[in-house]
């Protein structure tokens, strides 16, 4: 169910959206979504996973990262540090007992919670992909750009990447960040089935994959 929660951001507290299945049950899972395009590609997959978890007796919360989705905050003001603060605050606000970080979410999730990391990805990989998309788009438009120069400019002044105004702090943060999992269990795509939804060019869904993920979490949370 859509709800809002008071989320800290660069300009103070802001009401941010969150999809919540809350039955005040013992296991409460905070889901930290992937970054950029992968967040859109996995949206239906993750919300369906929440529905499946709900049927298995597990509460879950999927907050928007500040600046993303319906957020009232500016994307250009965001940084990995800001997202870490926001997700740590969400964990406290919702009294999460476990965490699931998906792909780039592994760069910003609250590491104090036990839980799972699904196909974590390095910040440089995300950044490289965004830079490459920009270089390709420029090439199509008949302009020459290259990733190295763009990265240098982005680290100092920020950069427009795949339609996002990415601030200098976020560029620099991504260039250095590695998944932060500390003892959380890494789940591989092969455990969910074939066809990673975060790769899909047009956002798709696969209830079987959502069910597989929910079953893994339900089984291991109560183990």
């Amino acid at each position: 169910m859509p709800a809002t929660w008071p989320c800290p951001g660069p300009a103070g507290l802001a009401d941010e959206y969150v999809v919540v299945f809350d039955g005040a049950r013992p296991v409460r899972l905070l889901i930290v979504p992937p970054l950029f395009e992968e967040m859109n590609r996995t949206r239906r997959f993750l919300v369906e996973t929440q529905r499946q978890l709900d049927r298995l007796g597990i509460d879950s919360m999927l907050p928007d990262l500040p600046g993303c989705n319906e957020s009232a905050q500016a994307f250009s003001a965001q940084s990995l540090g800001g997202w870490r603060t926001a997700m740590a605050a969400a964990a406290r606000h919702f009294a999460a007992t476990h965490v699931l970080a998906v792909r780039g979410g592994a760069l910003v999730f609250p590491t104090r919670l036990p839980g799972w990391v699904l196909e974590p990805v390095k910040g440089t990989t995300i950044l490289r992909q965004l830079l490459r998309a920009r270089v390709l788009a420029a090439k199509e438009a008949g302009r020459e750009e290259n990733s190295a120069d763009l990265l240098e400019r982005g680290r100092n002044h920020g950069l427009e990447l795949a339609g996002y105004h990415v601030g200098a702090a976020l560029v620099a943060g991504l260039d250095a960040a590695v998944p932060e999992d500390e003892g959380q269990r890494v789940i591989g795509q092969s455990e969910l089935g074939t066809g990673a939804l975060w790769l899909r060019s047009e956002p798709g869904e696969d209830p079987a994959q959502s069910a597989a993920l929910a079953r893994i979490i339900a089984a291991e949370a109560s183990a």
């Binding site: 395009e37 990989t125 490289r128 992909q129 965004l130 490459r132 998309a133 920009r134 270089v135 390709l136 788009a137 090439k139 199509e140 290259n146 990733s147 795949a162 074939t194 066809g195 990673a196 790769l199 899909r200 060019s201 047009e202 798709g204």
Partner: protein
């Protein structure tokens, strides 16, 4: 399985993942099947995801200069590119 067959199988699977193809459609990809420019869903962001994943799965590095219509125009072009890069590695 020869190395080329192995690359072919992995690349078909990867394209199915990116494009959401059914196994039947993925198996039907021929050397002259058009990719970039022929498939509207294969925009610059989708190509960027595809190339990153290709680097990952085939353990190769793709430079900005490598990426053009000759490399991504058809399934055969892309397969030949990866096979060549694998040979250099």
């Amino acid at each position: 399985m020869t190395q080329t067959t192995e690359i072919d199988t992995t690349l078909r699977t990867l394209l199915s993942d990116v494009l959401g193809l059914t196994p039947v459609r993925a198996a039907a990809l021929a050397a002259d099947s058009g990719l970039f420019g022929a498939l509207p869903e294969l925009d610059s962001m989708a190509v960027a995801s595809l190339l990153t994943e290709i680097e990952d799965r085939f353990d190769i590095m793709i430079d900005d200069d490598d990426v053009d219509g000759d490399m991504l125009g058809t399934y055969g072009d892309l397969l030949a590119f990866i096979t060549r890069k694998r040979g250099e590695a």
